[in-house]
Homo-oligomer: 311 residues x 2
């Protein structure tokens, strides 16, 4: 063990599903993201000393994704009795659709791995973070934790075996995120989905996913735009987000490449091929939400290719 | 119009579906393939003068995919009254699962386009060939005609708009084809498929398709191998092909990267990463089929990256 003194890490927010990759695709944002400080504790074992920015989260290790991911790592190393204390700085709300619980899980496991002198590669941390993510929404899937940890756009080929592919990010791509300040719980958002789909929709959607992957390798943004149409999930969830259809139409009229729901919502994202168009989308969304007197946050980000980092 | 004297073309056999891309993926083989001769006719209009190698096919333009594809091209050019005669050399059986009707359609339209001095690009011929393919199996899909015409591995993003992506072919890849000499009609093979699938299988299959596309761009044959598992179509169709499970097991034991049904069957294909392994698969399949006294053809091919050609 080559313990470090103490350090602070950042783990980014993420957009999962990405229109055509339900439970399969996700990408990382430059901001927002959770921060976490780890240092030597005053008694044996892992302790969550404090949580800043969100009073509702539990400080119990087994009920907190940051704590649980870190604990699973320590357990795997035989370090459960080491004195470690963490402080979590929540920089994003819960239930926004931007992978809040995943960012905390990644921050926890990444920080503690660094603290112990990096016994595991980033790749090896994925399983612990996914274990923890399961606490938050009840299902085992890595489409938020993988991009938060590793950066870029990630395709999870198989959740069970953690088989993933890190996909290339075309130059110039910008993401506009609109977070309407309403609560949509992932569990509810999952529960409304039909468990059967037609073979025809499967064909259409999987062809779009295949073409989206090709578009990333080819840096073909027109193909990407044609590919990012969700025939299955978005039509079922759109009703959970007030004014979704109007917001999407506004983004597409402002020449966005695509617009869909981020994760389980209520946040929505638009992709554009440059900053001017991203500004345009941001402006029309701001005007629309203000006119309707709806509470919201809106911001522009690149796709983050680095993932979790010490800073 | 810059009419040529007469010429002979080749259009290759194809493997459609490719385990994870039902109605979406197909690749071309070096052999077999249909040949077609086109020359000036003796009376106005298109005439199928003869069909060699298969006495069952109709010489009526509207009942023959080669004739119909060529006719649709001539119609589009306003050349319906031009005197054109074609001779089709069928080099492959009907109902083999190797895109026989598609190869004829492509040969017809490609030859006549060349004959008229190439008024259309290959890309523009796709629609005519797909029109004709619809005669043969009753559905509008380009997963055989596109690779036969264009070569390589083709992903059809959208059949309706003919939006496709030509995917890269990794070095060293070899295809082993086994054609058990039984008849499986595409229409029947389509009819047995359930029209509803579970969301869970959709997720698994589309993730595999996305990963397969990534594997081609990365030349990552291990990822390709992990990706080419068909959770939806193969389990439903395997029963149409005697000994399919045993044949697949033999191929995988011989270190094939993947093995599945070619198109609607009964042909099956295995992919290997070199010629030695391809030979091994060919040998175990030959021994097995001979032991069972089942009639068959078996052969090895590269993936054809050129598609239809004059020769």
């Amino acid at each position: 063990m080559n313990k470090r003194k103490g350090l602070r890490v950042f783990a980014p927010a993420t957009v999962a599903n990405v229109a055509v990759g339900y439970d399969v695709l996700g990408f990382a944002l430059d901001k927002p993201g959770d921060e976490l400080v780890v240092r030597e504790g005053s008694k044996p074992g892992l302790v969550i000393k404090s949580i800043h920015g969100n009073s509702g989260l539990s400080k119990e290790i087994h009920k907190n994704t940051a704590g649980y991911a870190a604990f699973r790592l320590m357990e795997s190393l035989g370090y459960e009795k080491e004195a470690v204390e963490i402080e979590l700085y929540k920089k994003m709300g819960i239930g926004t659709g931007l992978g809040s619980s995943a960012a905390s899980a990644v921050a926890g496991v990444f920080a503690v791995n660094e603290f112990f002198g990096r016994p595991y590669s980033k790749d090896q941390l994925l399983r612990f973070a996914t274990d923890a993510e399961q606490i938050a929404d009840g299902s085992w899937h890595a489409d938020n934790v993988a991009p938060s940890l590793l950066g870029s756009i990630i395709l999870i080929r198989d959740n069970a075996s953690m088989d993933y592919v890190k996909l290339p990010v075309p130059e110039g791509l910008r993401v506009v995120i609109l977070y309407p300040k309403i609560s949509v719980l992932t569990k509810k958002s999952r529960a409304i989905l039909k468990q059967e789909i037609s073979l025809d929709l499967h064909i259409k959607q999987s062809a779009n996913l295949g073409a989206f992957v090709a578009a990333l390798y080819k840096s073909d943004l027109a193909l990407m735009s044609r590919s990012l149409t969700d025939h299955i999930i978005e039509p079922q969830r759109a009703g959970l987000i007030p004014q979704f259809a109007a917001l999407k139409a506004l983004a597409m009229e402002s020449h966005a490449l695509a617009c869909s729901i981020s994760g389980a919502g209520p946040s929505i994202f638009a992709l554009t091929d440059n900053t001017v168009k991203a500004d345009n989308v941001l402006n029309v969304w701001t005007r629309f939400m203000s006119d309707k007197a709806m509470d919201f946050d809106v911001f522009i980000s690149k796709i983050n290719t680095e993932g979790a980092k010490v800073f």
